[in-house]
C-alpha cells in the first residue's frame, strides 16, 4: 500500500516537471511562429 503513495508522488513530480517544460517549449514555438507571421504580413503590406 505504501508503494502506491510513493509511486503516485514520484509520477506526479515527473509528470508535473515534464508537462511544465513541454508547455513552455510549445508556447515558445507558437510565439515565434506568430511573430514571424506578423513580420511577414507587415513586409507584404509595405511592399504593396
Amino acid at each position: 500500500m505504501t508503494n502506491t503513495y510513493i509511486t503516485a508522488a514520484f509520477t506526479l513530480g515527473l509528470l508535473a516537471f515534464l508537462g511544465l517544460a513541454l508547455w513552455l517549449f510549445l508556447q515558445r514555438s507558437r510565439l515565434r511562429i506568430l511573430i514571424k507571421t506578423l513580420q511577414e504580413e507587415e513586409g507584404e503590406r509595405k511592399d504593396a
Binding site: 500500500m1 505504501t2 508503494n3 503513495y5 510513493i6 503516485a8 508522488a9 514520484f10 506526479l12 513530480g13 515527473l14 508535473a16 516537471f17 515534464l18 511544465l20 517544460a21 513552455l24 517549449f25 508556447q27 515558445r28 514555438s29 510565439l31 515565434r32 511562429i33 506568430l34 511573430i35 514571424k36 506578423l38 513580420q39 504580413e41 507587415e42 503590406r45
Partner: protein
C-alpha cells in the same frame, strides 16, 4: 517548430537538468536505504522538501523583483515580467508541495489533510500566489499595477518565515524542519546526500522554469505590441 538557436540551447540545458533529476529520483525511489522509523514512505521527502524550498525561492525572487520594480518605475520594466514568472512557478511548486505532502500524510498521519499550522500557512501561500496572478492579469499595464503587484509580492514573501517557523511557534502535527540553520541534521549520509542532490536539481529546474517563462512573457508582450502597431497602421 520554429525555435532560434538560443531557444534550442536553453531547452537542451533544461533537458539535461531533467535527465539528472530523473536519475536522482530513481535512486531515491529504489536505491537509497529505507528510514529507521518511517520505513519506505519517507521517500516522498525527496520531492516534497525540494518543492517546498523552490516555492520559498520563488517567493524570494518575487520579493527581489517587486522591490526592483518599485525602485525603477517604468511600465515596460523587465522586473514585472520576472515577478509574474516567479509567481507562476511559485504557485506550481506550492501546489506540488501540498500534493506530495498529502500523499505522505495519508499513510503517516492517516489523513490527506488537516488544518495544521504548517499546512495552513502553505495553503495560504498558494492562495496568495493565485491572488497575485489574478491581480496582475486584471489590472491594465502601468505604474499603478506595478505598485500594487509589488506590494502584493512583498506580502507574499512575508508568509515564508511564518511557514518556516510555524512548526516551532505552534504545536503542530508536522515535524520540525528537516534542513535547519542550527547545523545538526538528523539524517544518515546516503539519505542526506540524495536529498541535497534532489534539492540542487530542483532549484536548477525552478530557476530554468522562471527564466523560460519570463522569456515567453517577453515574447508575448512583443507580439501584442507588434500586432497593435500593425492594427493601427503605424
Amino acid at each position: 517548430m520554429n525555435l532560434t538557436k538560443k531557444d534550442k540551447k536553453a531547452f537542451f540545458l533544461g533537458a539535461g537538468v531533467f535527465a539528472a533529476l530523473v536519475l536522482v529520483w530513481t535512486s531515491a525511489a529504489w536505491l537509497v536505504p529505507a528510514e529507521a522509523f518511517q520505513g519506505e514512505v519517507y521517500r516522498i521527502l525527496y520531492i516534497h522538501v525540494p518543492s517546498a524550498s523552490c516555492a520559498f525561492l520563488c517567493a524570494s525572487l518575487l520579493f527581489g523583483f517587486s522591490i526592483a520594480s518599485l525602485v525603477k518605475k517604468s511600465p515596460q520594466a523587465q522586473f514585472g515580467l520576472w515577478a509574474r514568472a516567479s509567481a507562476e512557478i511559485g504557485l506550481f511548486f506550492t501546489v506540488l508541495t501540498l500534493a506530495t505532502g498529502s500523499l505522505w500524510g495519508k499513510p503517516t498521519w492517516g489523513t490527506w489533510w488537516t488544518w495544521d499550522a504548517r499546512l495552513t500557512t502553505t495553503f495560504v501561500l498558494a492562495l496568495l500566489y493565485g491572488a497575485y496572478l489574478l491581480l496582475e492579469s486584471s489590472m491594465p499595464a502601468g505604474i499603478l499595477r506595478q505598485k500594487v503587484c509589488a506590494v502584493m509580492g512583498v506580502l507574499i514573501f512575508a508568509d515564508v518565515p511564518i511557514i518556516y517557523k510555524s512548526v516551532t511557534w505552534w504545536r503542530t502535527l508536522h515535524q520540525p524542519p528537516t534542513l535547519n540553520f542550527a547545523g545538526s541534521v538528523p539524517m544518515d549520509g546516503p539519505i542526506l546526500r540524495t536529498l541535497i542532490f534532489s534539492l540542487v536539481l530542483c532549484v536548477a529546474s525552478c530557476l530554468w522554469f522562471v527564466w523560460q517563462r519570463s522569456a515567453n512573457l517577453r515574447l508575448r508582450l512583443l507580439f501584442e505590441d507588434q500586432s497593435f502597431r500593425q492594427w493601427r497602421g503605424v
